[in-house]
């Protein structure tokens, strides 16, 4: 007879796989299936975290570093004005980062001597169906038509030849920028235990109450029980000598710990840089460990679930060691970031002086991670003036999420603000609207923006916002009521009455709308059997 059946397996249910190297685990089938199922709404409703990695702040920082990289490439004679430089975004998700990035990049390039260098940002995913909604997204159309944006199917776990859909361009033979935000934390990786100077491979055992793994089941991950087994023998060679060197180094200097090696991420960068046959800049943002010192004393990885998929910490130190071993430049923050490690890796033997300078200025310190940490530590603020609230918006580059958090404050302060402050608020509304990229979130941004405009007496501009809301989301009682109030203020009483009645049709119990209808009917002299005198102060804007 062979080994005995273990009680621990019986108690753990059905063993779906036993002691499998992490990168070959069926866990990744669940991961892939999860991302294949997600539409745009997964990002809008927060199932997949993306705010910090797609907001205008990080996009602006990236754009500056990309521009610096292009300058470095130009100085080294790598740019050919007849060939586009591609910025390949892996796992484009909602498309929000691409929207923000291309806008900023376009502005920056236009102000430099590189303005005639064609640049195309390529949104990609392993599943073409995920990109289709972005291809028709209204906010992307102008940049798509102008050639600033394109699409490609790219499996980051196994990238092959990359060719864009629209212009049929091969992403090769030119400097390349790879953007990977919250991508490498979802790619297959391997786990090793360091014990007394030796590295041992760690296998994963998956058990469940049912005999079959159903990757398409949204609850598949929550049904699994994970356990880790360390091999007794030293780990065999990994293949790439640079990776073996990383593991050897870890075994030398780390006493007792477990380390993740981002094997698929390293292979991905390798292949893309090889195809480029030119300097390649990779901008990578993830939760992770930036330095060797962060890797001491770690246990098994925390598989962080989010809505059916999961993520793991990324070992930036391992990425860095491989890139350095291949003659590249590594740019990482000198400290351990709290929320997000933003790293830049330059492959291809380029003097990346300018790139490094802009990275240090914009991403390493005082960048997206620091801004997020400050926000988390100081929110909600005790009391803000309108100008302070507007400063927060500017600092966050008109990020919609920040606007939504500030909205109650803005609304409270708007009506009584000075004319100059109200002008600044109107400008802020314009900027937020301009930088907003809808991804199916629940909040009706146009309604919020329009309400602020109404509050400072800009009723016609408010009506345009309310019309935009109805065009995008259809009529709701709230937006019809808000529009009716704006028309009431403009003394367009007939239209106001029509709209407030439409609001009541949708929501008969809408008390504020009923009161407005009664006032309007009274003013118009239409007795509905319950006429009231119009309130002296009229109907001021109120929260949606």
């Amino acid at each position: 007879m062979t080994d005995a059946k273990r009680i621990v397996d019986i108690k753990g249910g059905h063993v779906l796989e036993h002691g499998v190297p992490l990168s070959r685990s069926r866990l990744w089938e669940i991961q892939r299936s999860f991302y294949a199922r997600q539409g745009l709404r997964a990002w809008g409703d927060g199932h997949v975290p993306s705010g910090i990695t797609s907001n205008p702040v990080i996009a602006s920082g990236y754009a500056e570093v990309i521009l610096a990289f292009l300058r470095d490439c130009d100085a080294a004679g790598h740019l050919d004005r007849s060939r586009p430089v591609h910025v390949l975004e892996l796992g484009s998700g909602s498309g929000r980062l691409a929207f923000n990035l291309v806008r900023r990049l376009r502005e920056l390039l236009a102000a430099t001597t590189l303005r005639d260098q064609p640049v195309t940002l390529v949104l990609s995913d392993f599943d073409r169906a995920k990109l289709e909604p972005l291809a028709t997204h209204p906010r992307l159309q102008a940049d798509l038509d102008a050639g600033w944006l394109d699409f490609a199917v790219v499996d980051a776990a196994d990238p092959g030849e990359v060719r864009t859909w629209r212009r049929k361009q091969l992403v090769a033979d030119a400097p390349l920028v790879v953007v990977a935000n919250y991508v490498f934390d979802s790619l297959p990786a391997d786990l090793y235990a360091i014990r007394g100077g030796t590295a041992h491979e760690v296998g994963l055992t998956l058990a469940a109450d049912t005999a079959a793994l159903e990757p398409d089941d949204p609850d598949a991950l929550s049904r699994l029980r994970l356990s880790w087994d360390e091999a007794e023998d030293p780990a065999p060679p990994l293949g790439p000598p640079e990776l073996d060197s990383v593991l050897t180094r870890y075994a030398e200097v780390l006493d007792t710990t477990m380390v993740i090696l981002p094997t698929a991420a390293i292979a991905c960068l390798d292949r893309l840089a090889t195809a480029a046959r030119a300097p390649t800049l990779a901008l990578v943002s993830d939760k992770g460990w930036a330095h060797l010192r962060d890797l001491a004393g770690l246990g098994p990885p925390d598989i962080t679930p989010h809505g059916g998929g999961f993520s793991m910490m990324v070992n930036f130190d391992a990425l860095a060691r491989v890139v350095r071993a291949r003659g590249g430049t590594v740019l990482l923050p000198p400290h351990q970031p709290q929320q997000l490690v933003v790293g830049a890796f330059v492959l291809g033997g380029l003097d990346a002086t300018e790139t490094a300078r802009r990275y240090t200025d914009l991403l390493a310190e005082g960048g997206p991670d620091d801004l997020q940490s400050v926000h988390a530590g100081t929110w909600p603020p005790k009391e803000l003036t309108l100008q302070q609230a507007l400063s927060m918006l500017r600092t966050n580059r008109w990020d919609t999420r920040i606007f939504l958090e500030l909205f109650p404050t803005l609304l409270e302060l708007a009506a009584d603000a000075s004319p100059r402050a109200q002008t600044d608020l109107a400008l802020a509304v314009d900027r937020v609207w301009d930088w907003w990229f809808p991804i199916g979130e629940a909040a009706d941004i146009e309604l919020y923006l329009g309400t602020l405009l109404s509050c400072i007496g800009r009723h016609r501009e408010a009506l345009a916002m309310f019309a935009a809301s109805q065009e995008r989301r259809g009529a709701t009682a709230e937006v019809l009521y808000a529009a009716a109030r704006a028309r009431y203020a403009l003394r367009d009483l007939d239209e106001a009455l029509k709209e407030v009645r439409a609001a009541l049709d949708l929501s008969p119990a809408f008390e504020a709308a009923r009161e407005l209808a009664i006032d309007l009917e009274a003013e118009l002299g239409r007795d509905t059997g319950g006429a009231h005198e119009a309130r002296p102060g009229g109907h001021r804007a109120s929260p949606p």
């Binding site: 007879m1 062979t2 080994d3 005995a4 059946k5 273990r6 009680i7 621990v8 397996d9 019986i10 108690k11 059905h14 063993v15």
Partner: protein, 158 residues
């Protein structure tokens, strides 16, 4: 089996054990018999499945890895009697001649052509080995005279 006689119950038990990752050894015996092994965190033991095909009976025994010295036999017999009182299924037995302890779970499958479906086999086998796993350490301590049977019973928490 080498007898050439149909043994659907044994076949069902063997199929379950194989599919569930148990080691399987078919032994030559007058009664259709399969042997397997189970391991807890601290011990490993042999299990034997036997089927009495005409009667539709399936019997699964764990040979509990404990040795009961002769002097401790009365105390352990009392302990096992109390344990059996608390069990919903199965029962322990002590061979006073050898000091061996066995846990048996069994079932009867009715019908003209009785079949042992995997779910039934699983219930029979898992109930058996999980009871052994739960009772083993206190039983060992009591058999060695290191623990009063009252404390052993309390630890088994039946």
């Amino acid at each position: 089996m080498t007898t050439g006689i149909a043994t659907p119950l044994l076949d069902g038990l063997v199929a379950f054990l194989r599919d569930d990752g148990w080691p399987v050894h078919l032994s030559a015996s007058t009664v259709p018999t399969v042997e397997t092994r189970c391991a807890s965190a601290t011990a490993e033991w042999t299990c034997t499945g036997r089927t009495f095909e005409p009667q539709g009976q399936v019997v699964f025994d764990s040979m509990v890895p404990v040795e009961v010295p002769e002097a401790m036999a009365p105390a352990v017999a009392l302990l096992l009697t109390c344990v059996n009182w608390g069990l919903n299924t199965g029962s322990f037995a002590l061979d006073t001649a050898t000091g061996a302890v066995r846990l048996r779970t069994s079932m009867v499958v009715s019908g003209e052509t009785p079949l042992l479906v995997p779910a039934a086999a699983k219930a029979l086998v898992y109930a058996n080995v999980l009871i052994v796993d739960r009772c083993l350490e206190p039983l060992r301590e009591a058999a060695a005279g290191r623990m009063p049977i009252e404390q052993a019973l309390e630890l088994m928490d039946l």
